[in-house]
Symmetry: C2
Subunit: 548 residues, 2 copies
């Protein structure tokens, strides 16, 4: 029997978060096709998607795409893959509705081969069978995927937690997870996001209490900021608004669209008359309003960030407003979030964060929940995924503490090929993988060269050195002139650099001057070196030769 | 009797952190002269110092400078102030030694009028008398300052906590704080850094236990990263190294200098033979080494960051190394810190952070300690300082919960003038204040214009448009050409922009072309608009006219 290969393909520093491949000689299936958000060194980058080279090179072998749940980091890159790779997409009804809406919004794509499945269904692709197993998470109808192979089950936990009082009342199918464990799980591909949190995480329903308390204590309007995909949290806000005699309004188009879809399909239960448009809230008293707003990560153009700067025309923050941060900061965003909060406080708002009150609950398993997953499914091999290397390392220690020997825990990198047969598992080589940086226009044009240039430009600015040249005669037609932007060194450093350049140019003979590339190199090195020597700065030096 | 004015002058988003002024008609005293570190929007900025305009304009009235403790955010900007303002500097012996060393290193300045005081001393400046009161903090000889004025005492807590088992055994002088409270504290200027942490903070001595446990469990070398000013933590590492049969070595010049000063003056007690040079560690087994390393904040050029990238020539990370993060991330640095940790883990290191084990303890008071300070000193007015607006807001709520009416708690901004007389306090106007951004060269040249340019350059890159022009004749001598760096839009966007520019230039008459400023404006607007329309990007457009 042929090998089974499991390949985490993308996640922007997080392993297999956005996309993973399972294949054998009969073909290849894709699990999740998501995107990541840029970190602060990704200058001018809008989103980060996996490098799909391997899938595109093997597009004829791709038999199906499976989606575990509707979060952007698991479905958001479909619009980049589908133009190259055609395959049916299997997912639950809720995921399907969210994906359809996003694809239509982003690409106008309406014809998508989506097959709606239910938790418990198994899709039979011959030597690979994929079973959907319900788990709890912060979005409806999340499913772990049990890939039945001739060598045993490869179990993808998806993003999960064990929440016994979830908002939608639908519990994880621990019975089926246990059965799978008894039948024999060969390899557990496990969520490791919260592996650094000890204990068992609180139930999402605790956030209802926290939100309820904060709303009852609020004298005026309440603004709740969260991820626009957090459907359960939205339902909790709806419930809290209803219980406290408040109307619900939202800002941000993505949030509006999500609410529309969820209401239509019954995933969000909003009492008649509760939901009002943003331009209607003036009809009500401040204490009768609860608003859902985007901007929980301090994103500069999001509604809440604009409000903090007084630039959001449709709503101004006033003293007495209460703002609830019902989201966890993504590492690196803390600075921007605190600056936003300071601006809101200075406008008289009362800002409540997770550290003050339980108004946010994580959707990911804590340490004891992860141990429970391992205990239920009794995998022979474990590969922690969805986290960064530091999470994988902690997971490895946790598994070893539970008795798993080190050689049965694989801490993989994106692109690593994990091979499994009847007797063992091993990593054998790599396939192309990596990050493709997408700009605001949706183009994959932010190369590492562009990024390095932006970093240098942003750090020390740019010095443009222009000179007129007659390349035919090999003569200069004007003296070099400098133009600077974003440069903070002294003017004299530039003057010295130009003097040194004039001296260096004077040593050139006409044949040198006919070689524009040689002149450009000279400008870069002389000007760059003099400026660096004079003021320890390294602006980008751009020679511009204008032919007379 | 004349008014007393209290003016927080600087702190880069934190109020009165770096510098505060107290004045009356007899003159002006300065409390602390520190610097701040840039946040991630401060492109290419090395340090941030307060705008000292107000002090320089009033330099003849400055009677003395008082330093509460030797941390950079309280003393690090002296080299920027002293060239403009001469006044005696009062501080404890330890602070004096640290400041002298830094001033000599940074400016070669040897003649400084420093007057060494002891906790308990009072400096009599006539109508203002300044008393040093010992408090506990993460650096030796930290003192609160009680400024005795004709209207009562203005009490600056300095950075403080109530640690009953400090590393140096020297407790806060709570007796004197109580007496001051009984005599009558008019205004409490209180540290608010940890106002968001409930309870009473743990003693610094708990870090000795945490570090000891981590070191005992480490199979190989131990690298401890911390701020180079954390003298108590260094002593704990010395003690732990000695107790576990390890030699101590350090990386980073600042850390070496600090250790030298502290040993010489007896603030650091290192057993004979324990301290070895970095190039000597090869003589010992891995399990006999403990290293102090810089880089706890993920600073790209610090030793630990270079080690994580394999670029630190004097020491390579090997599997079996244990790295202890004995410092709190400054908000905004989390992303860089986690990326450093991931790289260290991938090299086989075992990384331990504060969340795993108590190897870092904050030097600032938690909520109950702050309440104790308020309770001991019974201030009539309170002004929370050292924090951001969000901290001040939490402090205001805390004080109100303790029974202080809202009008007796001032949440000031830097530059606000708080006036106090015998019957009341009020904010009356502002003095110049703000941030001066200093580049790597020590120049205050990073203006807001430079910063805005760097931000734009770093986001979308630069497009240089060069054209030859004969301004006397009013004719173009070459077609416009574009040079780009850090731009990720399509080439066709640039081509379209140049086409549009050629069309626009063709409409100009010779008198227009003689006006180079007008031509430059046209280039900027036409090229900028076309690119923005074609690909939603806004690179910096630089027109470069070369005269034929």
């Amino acid at each position: 029997m042929s090998l089974v290969k499991v390949i985490p393909l993308g996640g922007c520093g997080e392993i297999g978060k956005n996309c993973t491949v399972v294949e054998n000689e009969d073909g290849l299936i894709v699990i999740d096709v998501g995107l990541s958000f840029p970190h602060e060194e990704h200058y001018g980058v809008d989103i980060v998607v996996p490098d799909f080279t391997y899938l595109i090179e093997n597009k004829d072998r791709v038999r199906a795409i499976f989606l575990t749940h509707a979060h952007e980091d698991h479905v958001g890159a479909l619009s980049f893959l589908l133009p190259h790779v055609q395959a049916p997409i299997y997912c639950t009804k809720f995921t399907s509705a969210m994906v359809r809406s996003k694809l239509e919004e982003r690409t106008g794509m309406k014809e998508v081969d989506m097959k709606v499945t239910q938790p418990g269904d198994t899709i039979d692709l011959g030597s690979l069978k994929v079973e959907f197993v319900r788990v709890t998470h912060s979005i409806p109808e999340t499913c772990a995927l049990a890939v039945h192979t001739p060598h045993g089950v490869v179990l993808f936990t998806a993003d999960f937690k064990f929440d016994f009082t979830p908002v939608d009342g639908k519990l994880s199918d621990v019975g089926r997870l246990t059965e799978l464990g008894r039948e024999g799980v060969l390899l557990l591909m496990s969520d490791s996001t919260n592996i650094d949190r000890p204990g068992w995480g609180p139930s999402e329903s605790r956030a209802t209490e926290g939100l309820g308390k904060a709303v009852r204590e609020a004298p005026g309007r309440v603004l709740v900021t969260m991820f626009s995909s957090n459907i359960h949290r939205m339902q909790q806000c709806v419930d809290v608004a209803a219980a406290n005699g408040r109307k619900l309004a939202v800002t941000g188009r993505r949030m509006e669209t999500t609410i529309d879809i969820c209401r239509r399909l019954g995933y969000l239960n909003i009492p008649e008359g509760l939901y009002v448009r943003l331009d209607e809230i003036g009809k009500y008293r401040a204490s009768e309003i609860l608003l859902l707003v985007t901007g929980s990560q301090g994103e500069p153009m999001a509604a809440l960030s604009q409000m903090s700067r007084g630039e959001y025309n449709r709503l101004k923050i006033v003293p007495g407003d209460t703002i609830l941060y019902s989201a966890r900061p993504i590492p690196g965003n803390e600075g921007a979030i605190w600056r936003t909060i300071n601006r809101l406080v200075l406008q008289g708002a009362n800002v409540v964060t997770e550290s003050d009150s339980p108004i946010h609950i994580s959707g990911h398993a804590y340490q004891e929940e992860i141990k429970m997953m391992v205990n239920l499914t009794q995998p022979f091999y474990i590969a922690p995924v969805h986290g960064e290397p530091r999470h994988q390392d902690l997971y490895r220690k946790l598994a070893m503490a539970m008795g798993w020997p080190a050689h049965r825990v694989f801490t993989m990198a994106n692109g690593d090929v994990l091979c499994v047969d009847d007797t063992k598992a091993w990593i054998d080589g790599r396939v192309p993988s990596g990050e493709v940086l997408i700009d605001q226009h949706g183009n994959a044009a932010v190369t590492s060269k562009v990024l390095a240039d932006r970093s240098a430009l942003g750090h020390d600015g740019v010095v443009v050195v222009a000179l007129g040249i007659d390349p035919k005669e090999g003569t200069l037609t004007s003296k070099p002139e400098a133009h600077v932007r974003g440069f903070s060194g002294p003017d004299t450093a530039i003057e010295d650099a130009l003097d040194d350049l004039v001296d260096a140019l004077a040593k050139l003979v006409p044949s040198d001057l006919r070689d524009t590339e040689c002149v450009e190199k000279l400008v870069k090195s002389v000007v760059g070196q003099t400026i660096s020597r004079r003021c320890q700065q390294r602006p980008v030096v751009m020679p511009v030769l204008v032919e007379a």
